[in-house]
């Protein structure tokens, strides 16, 4: 059997080499299928990898309370302004639902003015507590972060967020950035000045910079799906900002909550809703969003787009398979006499079938290998050159893709091989 396979492979290879154009055309379609498959597989893997790193960074038991503004659009006569969540409310929530891993109040003002050394820039200032850094903390910290003392004493201290330097590979975007100055004044100011320990003015009030958070470069930054507050530029104790009216005291706080683990999530959600109901009379004043839902939805979107790609790959494989079937049939007719000769000297139907199937599978294998090489080239160097994120290509992807290519060729070669094996020896010998 091994010997027969070896000989069939040898004959197949010499046939493939003898008809280079025909062979090339027939395995190109298979190769296209492989490229698409590898791309789709790596997209799916990337989606899961992103989810994994999100789990690490954001936690999987996250929820967020914010005011329900949907009523704003209802009949003005019925409108009841939702109550405001104050810092005291947050402290009470902490007390009432003690098991929570994180209860982080956040409030921000869209447009504040930061002044330093004669520069006046616009900065988005957010009021937070030390809990803020428990999740989604994707920065390198210089100096220190806010502590409870700062919050309790309403100290005028702040932490600045400094943008990551642009990726070195991104020459195109670098030049664009230079040309159009995508970086705002704030980014320029904090990039070019070391403000740690200095005093800056926020809306005219002096704050001491106690820490600088360096954003991780895009390549090292774990992706986030949902809310993140990543546009914040300046972080200060929420109490201080309220006290100095940098945040208006009638602004409601949003509360980001992490229940700690997925198992306790539903119970935590129930307790939080209950707390809102008891404290404000109606939980519908607030929206309690569940991060899992958002992640699931985003996953489903990603997966379904990958499935579309995979089905395109399938179509390419089927087209390639039909190409191989066509070529194999043509080969069978071109080599009818040879089939007759082989049958006359003792080859069985199985021998003939094996020969044509092996030949087709070799075409499939070559196509699969070529497609894998192209898929890798597209997924890694080409994407890097184009400034895209390279696809994560795992060892199994080329293997699976080559296997599918060979399997497709095998399936589509069965019919022509069967035709070849079914030729009557005497008639085949008479063929011209």
């Amino acid at each position: 059997m091994t010997r027969a396979l070896y000989n069939a492979a040898r004959t197949g290879l010499s046939e493939i080499l003898a008809h280079k154009t025909r062979s090339t055309l027939s395995f190109l379609a298979i190769a296209a299928g492989s490229v698409v498959f590898i791309d789709a597989f790596s997209a799916i893997v990337a989606t899961y990898a992103r989810l994994e790193s999100q789990k690490q960074v954001s936690g999987m038991a996250r929820m967020k309370i914010s005011q329900n503004h949907s009523q704003t659009w209802s009949n003005p006569d019925d409108y009841v302004a939702p109550p405001v969540i104050t810092y005291d409310d947050v402290l009470r929530l902490r007390e009432r639902v003690p098991g929570l891993f994180m209860v982080s109040p956040e409030a921000d003002s869209w447009r504040n003015v930061m002044e330093y050394d004669g520069h006046r820039v616009v900065a988005r200032v957010a009021g937070v507590t030390p809990e803020w850094r428990k999740r989604d903390f994707v920065y390198d910290l210089k100096g220190r972060f806010l502590d409870w003392h700062d919050v309790d004493q309403k100290l005028r201290v702040c932490v600045l967020i400094r943008p990551a330097p642009p990726e070195p590979a991104n020459a195109f975007f670098k030049s664009m950035r230079k040309k159009y100055d995508f970086m705002g004044g704030y980014d320029m100011l904090v990039t070019h000045n070391d403000l740690l320990g200095r005093t800056v003015k926020l809306d005219g009030i002096n704050f001491t910079v106690i820490g600088v958070l360096d954003e991780l470069p895009p390549s090292r930054k774990p992706p986030r799906i949902w809310w993140s507050g990543s546009d914040y530029k300046v972080l200060a104790p929420v109490t201080t900002l309220m006290h100095y009216n940098i945040l208006r005291s009638h602004d409601s706080l949003d509360v980001a909550i992490d229940a700690g683990d997925e198992k306790g999530f539903d119970e935590a959600m129930r307790l939080v809703r209950n707390f809102l109901k008891v404290r404000y009379g109606d939980e519908d004043f607030f929206v309690v969003e569940n991060q899992m839902d958002a992640i699931k939805e985003s996953m489903a979107r990603n997966i379904s787009s990958s499935l579309v790609t995979i089905s395109l790959g399938m179509l390419a494989f089927i087209a390639g398979g039909i190409g191989i079937m066509n070529v194999t049939l043509a080969t069978v007719f071109a080599r009818t006499k040879e089939i007759g000769v082989r049958r006359a000297i003792g080859a069985s139907r199985g021998d003939i079938m094996l020969q044509f199937i092996v030949e087709a599978v070799m075409l499939g294998l070559i196509g699969g290998l070529l497609g894998t090489a192209l898929g890798w080239f597209w997924g890694v160097p080409a994407k890097v050159m184009l400034g895209m994120t390279p696809s994560p290509i795992k060892v199994w992807m080329p293997l699976v893709s080559v296997f599918i290519a060979a399997l497709t060729a095998f399936v589509f070669a069965i019919y022509p091989a069967w035709v070849a094996a079914g030729l009557k020896p005497a008639e085949a010998l008479r063929a011209e």
Binding site: R3, A4, N7, S14, A18, K337, E338, G340, V341, R342, R343, A344, I345, G346, A347, S348, R349, G350, D351, K424, P425, A426, L429
Partner: protein, 234 residues
């Protein structure tokens, strides 16, 4: 070795079909050298195809070595062609892509011989037909006579007991024809049964027995063969 009774072969076509063989009955003993002669279209090649298990008769029976051909499965027929029968064709039917050695190796490969045995046997056979030193040449690099000798070596690869030759000298000049004929006679002398279809009366005269055919029937048996048990036409 070969017993045929009332062999008919009708090819499809037209209303009634076209009869190529019309009731042949004869037998051939082991070690005989039989020449089948007759004008073109008289059914010689059809007969040879049936004897070689390449084709099946429309009716009648054919037994090879006591085995009824009608009862053989396709695989059994293949196996019989592989081990019991050797073919030599007028057009050689060598695979031009392969060397002389590889052509001779083909039946050995289908028989599942090991690589070394296969090569040794193929070398011996080529030497036996006088082609030592030309093993690496492809058929296109060989003369007609040499090609036919490669074909004979291939036919002998699995030591068959029956050699079927369809106009083996039809494409050869007279000296090559003589060489090929000498080889066939030598084989018959060693006890191999040889059935040769030919136009050439001179060659036919060198065979032990002649079966002359006309219009799908046996016209006259001649030669030194003994009369068969039922058929007077041997």
């Amino acid at each position: 070795m070969i017993i045929c009774r009332d062999l008919h072969k009708t090819y499809e076509g037209g209303k009634t079909g076209w009869p190529a063989l019309r009731g042949l009955t004869f037998s051939i003993d082991r070690g005989e050298f039989v020449a089948v002669t007759g004008p073109s279209g008289c059914g010689k090649s059809t007969l040879l195809n049936i004897l070689g298990l390449l084709d099946e008769p429309s009716c009648g029976s054919y037994a090879l070595d006591g085995l009824d051909a009608a009862r053989m499965s396709d695989n059994e027929r293949s196996a019989a062609r592989l081990h019991r029968i050797g073919f030599v064709f007028q057009a050689f039917h060598l695979l031009n892509r392969l060397s002389a050695l590889e052509n001779v190796c083909l039946p050995l490969m289908y028989a599942g011989e090991g690589k070394e045995d296969m090569r040794r046997r193929a070398h011996d056979l080529l030497a036996r037909v006088g082609l030592k030193g030309k093993e690496r040449k492809t058929p296109l690099e060989l003369s007609g006579g040499e090609r036919q000798r490669v074909a004979i070596a291939r036919a002998l690869a699995n030591s068959p007991r029956l050699l079927l030759a369809d106009e083996p000298t039809g494409n050869l000049d007279s000296s090559s024809s003589r060489e090929v004929m000498d080889i066939l006679l030598g084989l018959a002398g060693e006890g191999m049964t040889v059935v040769m279809v030919t136009h050439d009366r001179e060659l036919a005269a060198r065979a032990g027995r002649n079966i002359r055919m006309r219009d799908g029937e046996i016209e006259s048996p001649s030669g030194r063969g003994r009369p068969g048990p039922q058929d007077g036409e041997k």
